[in-house]
């Protein structure tokens, strides 16, 4: 690698100015797009294929989930503020915002757990109807992604508290952010398709 480009990224890259780690994260996210597309396409095919479907606004707690959507959006804001903090070399700010992001993610999963238990209590489960099967599959896979993100965030918080990320070297924060925002984007689409349409 030439010295002219060495300062741009911490990690070696085969194309000047293009980080291999970031490129790989984007490739992973592209594969994740196809993963969720398969599930969403299945949902569309079943729901609009004439299956017996409940009135969504009566079946699901839309105001609660709208609040949960807002919580996940706020967690994206705290994530991006964590990135902005370390871009300015502010390690304390980084840790603070990362903890807030992990907490909001955990809150999202908890509220989803409450929603699930309410539905199960009414007798709606993945086994009772096509609606239940698709609903629990889609929200379940997304919730698993959020949960995995929270675990990853906790690891990043731990590393941040030990001073792992600095003004000069903080690509891990950017990659963590890419995954977290991606999970937020998936929920933006899922919220509309599952709850509003």
């Amino acid at each position: 690698m030439s010295h002219a480009t060495a300062h741009i990224e911490e990690n070696p890259s085969t194309i000047p100015g293009l980080s291999t780690r970031k490129f790989t994260m984007w490739l992973f996210l592209a594969s994740e797009v196809m993963f969720f597309t398969g599930l969403i396409a299945t949902y569309i095919a079943i729901r609009f294929g004439g299956a017996d479907w409940p009135i969504v606004s009566q079946k699901l707690n839309v105001p609660l989930v709208a609040l949960n959507t807002f919580i996940l959006i706020v967690s994206s804001v705290t994530m991006v503020m964590a990135f902005a903090a370390i871009e300015n070399g502010d390690q304390k700010g980084l840790t603070k915002y990362l903890i807030a992001t992990a907490a909001l993610g955990a809150l999202f999963v908890s509220i989803q757990g409450f929603e699930w238990s309410s539905l199960l209590a009414e007798g709606t489960s993945a086994n009772t109807s096509l609606f239940g099967a698709t609903f629990f599959t889609l929200t379940g896979f997304h919730g698993a992604h959020v949960s995995g993100g929270v675990l990853a965030l906790l690891l990043v918080v731990f590393r941040s508290m030990r001073g792992r990320y600095t003004l000069a070297d903080h690509q891990g924060i950017e990659l963590m952010g890419l995954y977290w925002h991606y999970v937020d984007v998936v929920w933006i689409i899922l919220f509309t398709i599952l709850y509003l349409i």
């Binding site: 100015g17 606004s57 503020m81 902005a84 984007v185």
Partner: protein
């Protein structure tokens, strides 16, 4: 124009402005879902709002607006397939059986 191609990111104030848009769009979404009775009109509105929100997050929070072309192609390429798949499925539903 930004000078450093890979390090140019938005500022905090831009992040917060984007957040304000996301919050307002979410409120509009929920209102639209309950207020617009005509199904196709409601779905069209909701689709546009969801795509706008997703676009804001990807462009600003994931910094795609500030990335080089290869990143943009990788990130946006699969979306063309998504649109094709969704359109095919919806059209197929309207065909006579």
């Amino acid at each position: 124009m930004e000078v450093a191609p890979t390090q140019a990111h938005a500022s905090r104030s831009t992040y917060l402005k984007v957040f304000a848009f996301l919050a307002v769009l979410t409120a509009v979404e929920v209102s639209v879902a309950f207020l617009i009775g005509t199904a196709w009109l409601r779905i069209a509105f909701l689709a546009v709002l969801a795509i706008a929100k997703a676009g804001l997050v990807v462009a600003f929070y994931m910094h795609l607006r500030f990335e080089r072309i290869p990143f943009r192609i990788i990130a946006l390429g699969p979306l063309i397939l998504v649109v094709l798949l969704a359109s095919a499925l919806l059209l197929e539903r309207n065909l006579p059986r």
